[in-house]
């Protein structure tokens, strides 16, 4: 199997039997960016957590680089995958600098290399290190926190990235700037990316393919142009909300 990420008949249920993910199957090729659209509560975050094994499927299997996540050492798997958490999820007692340095320091990079990498990442997400490096998350705006979350996920240069509504808290202008930067980054960095959003414009801008989730099911996973023409009420609703 050549796909970087694959779901095979994945179901995920919580205690009490409630199904959060219903029989989801798909494959993602290397260096592809898939954007997952879906309403609030449709199971997007749950899907991402099944990839880095924060959750284990109730039935079915998730494969990362050909190996079932159950066979991966979870620590190795997670350090192999950059994860941008919805609402950033920064450590409140770490400075911005230390938050971004987290995975490199877990991987015992030399001090000097970590420092220069952190500065590089801060520049990348448009936060001048001189101003932001020493601040604590509570001293940042929501949008700045999100950007630190993106920098943290990129810091150790993982080949796979999961982004859970990474730009949700940004104003429209900054948002469209950072989206463009992200698109350039995508071209340069060559990563396999799963990007969750409920912003259709963002999906069309960044996705090589677009997936649509509803009630824990993956209704479709198609190239952007085909997605636009898709004749499904949920897809129509999303596409129309954009135009």
């Amino acid at each position: 199997m050549n796909s970087t990420i694959a779901f095979r008949n994945v179901r995920y249920a919580v205690g009490g039997g409630r199904m959060l993910i219903h029989d989801v199957s798909f494959e993602l090729q290397r260096d592809e960016t898939v954007v997952i659209l879906g309403r609030s509560g449709s199971g997007k975050t749950t899907t991402l957590k099944l990839i880095n094994r924060l959750l284990d499927p109730t039935s079915g299997e998730v494969f990362v680089e050909g190996k079932s996540t159950g066979e991966w050492d979870p620590i190795r798997l997670r350090r192999h995958i950059g994860y941008v958490i919805q609402d950033a999820g920064l450590f409140p007692h770490f400075t911005v600098e230390r938050n971004i340095a987290l995975v490199p320091s877990l991987e015992s990079w030399p001090e000097e290399r970590i420092r220069s990498r952190v500065h590089e990442m801060l520049e990348l997400v448009g936060l001048p290190p001189g101003v932001f490096a020493k601040r604590f998350p509570r001293q940042l705006s929501g949008g700045e926190r999100q950007r630190v979350g993106v920098a943290r996920a990129l810091a150790a240069d993982p080949p796979i990235l999961l982004l859970d509504e990474p730009f949700g808290a940004l104003d429209p202008i900054t948002r469209s700037e950072i989206q463009k930067e992200f698109r350039d980054l995508q071209k340069r960095l060559k990563k396999t990316i799963v990007f969750v959003t409920h912003d259709v414009r963002e999906a069309f801008l960044l996705g090589t393919r677009i997936g649509l989730m509803k009630n824990g099911q993956l209704l479709a996973l198609l190239p952007a142009d085909d997605f636009r023409k898709l004749d499904h009420p949920e897809a129509r609703a999303f596409v129309e909300s954009y135009s």
Partner: protein, 210 residues
């Protein structure tokens, strides 16, 4: 002669008993921390043991301190007359606030932050040392502070089992019906408790700020 005259005349003994008192409290606290912190942490990893452990610590705390000292005297190895019995009793008394606050402090860390750490690939021990303990430190320290202040007070009873400390003056004063003598033990003990409270309180405040 007023209280302070009595203390001044017996100044070398006041000093000696104060040192004994501090020694009893310090040794007990060190042992209670060595037991209570790992136990509190373990409870967050094995929630099933948390109820019985907290239950035991709770029950110990409800035994009147004089009775606890008395119970311990006839027990071989840990009991008998002297500092050892007193230290065992003080350790038992100090455990509850330390265990409870370690457990609740760590359990109280926002699950989203814990999940973020796991998502970044932290191992359980990295999560504990780098995230959970630092974030719980304020609460844990509040427990240590409570335990210390209680121990300073309870240590006055150590004199009843021959362990010395400022309780010597208090028991002597009681048997001689001499209020000044009682105060000669009670005042330094209260000062110690206050100093511990303020000192540890200052540390706690600094830890809580993160």
């Amino acid at each position: 002669m007023n209280v302070f005259d009595v203390m001044w005349t017996n100044r070398s003994q006041v000093l000696q008993l104060t040192i004994e008192h501090i020694f009893l409290v310090a040794v007990s606290m060190a042992i209670a921390l060595a037991i209570g912190l790992p136990l509190g942490i373990l409870m967050t990893r094995m929630p099933r043991i948390s109820r019985p452990v907290l239950g035991f610590a709770n029950v110990v705390q409800t035994i009147p301190s004089l009775a606890l000292f008395g119970f311990l005297i006839p027990i071989p190895f840990i009991g008998g007359i002297g500092a050892r019995t007193a230290i065992v009793a003080l350790v038992l008394y100090s455990l509850l606030p330390i265990i409870r606050n370690t457990f609740t402090g760590i359990s109280g860390v926002d699950p989203a932050i814990r999940e973020a750490g796991r998502g970044m690939g932290m191992t359980d021990s990295q999560l504990l040392w780098q995230v959970e303990l630092p974030l719980a430190m304020g609460v844990i320290f509040a427990g240590i502070r409570t335990a210390t202040v209680v121990a300073v007070g309870v240590a006055t009873i150590a004199a009843a089992v021959g362990a010395g400390g400022l309780g010597m003056f208090i028991f002597r004063g009681v048997s001689m019906v001499d209020g000044r003598m009682i105060l000669a033990g009670a005042i330094p003990s209260a000062v110690l408790a206050l100093a511990a409270d303020l000192g540890l309180g200052a540390v706690e405040k600094r830890l809580g700020r993160i």
